[in-house]
Subunit: 131 residues, 2 copies
Amino acid sequence: MDTGPSRLGLMPKTPGPIKLWIRLTLPGVGQIGPGKIELLRKIREHKSISAAAREMKMSYRRAWLLVDDLNAAFRQPVVEKWMGGKSRGGATLTPTGEKLVESYDAVVARADSANRALLDELSGFTTRPRA
Amino acid sequence: MDTGPSRLGLMPKTPGPIKLWIRLTLPGVGQIGPGKIELLRKIREHKSISAAAREMKMSYRRAWLLVDDLNAAFRQPVVEKWMGGKSRGGATLTPTGEKLVESYDAVVARADSANRALLDELSGFTTRPRA
């Protein structure tokens, strides 16, 4: 059994401020965390689910399933896919998708700003306080 | 391959407000999320790591490793263990441990309150908006 630092997700020695990792829990719908949001960002950037999947080192199938999940969670689709044309199909974020990414970023920013003083204080109690 | 709702952690049909699931990321130290905090609460409640582990359905060994991890992350221990006596040993939270649990709860409460309106608005876009 691995009992080394990596077992619990300990990171390399790069001291810095305590950060918040946030997932939205939608009861009866699902969960949306940094991974799905990053996938949406990559889809927007590349206009392609397969290119986004490649960049995130996940299978095309997994990316599709995550997108379908997100689409099923909202009244309007989050990602729009099209077939054909010179680029042999592509994908982009819908207004709901843009709203989701924007909301997620706002949630993280506000949660951080509401807690920055407290997190910096707590950091002083750790063995690697902020630089 | 399971492609049903449980694959991505979808929950039973219990609509309610969007909630935040938060983990503290301490660069160079580790991560602290609801699981470790819950373990600390159970240790406080039962004055025992083994009883806490039992209630959380984790092995005693895993609970010990998590506690050791937490202790190593802070300048002062988070959990204090003692041996012997009528109760054959026990454990309790130190002031640093109390501070950590209290800080974590405050972070979650503030993050929620800073984002409540936004999360409720986003909830209206989902297929299961709040009741």
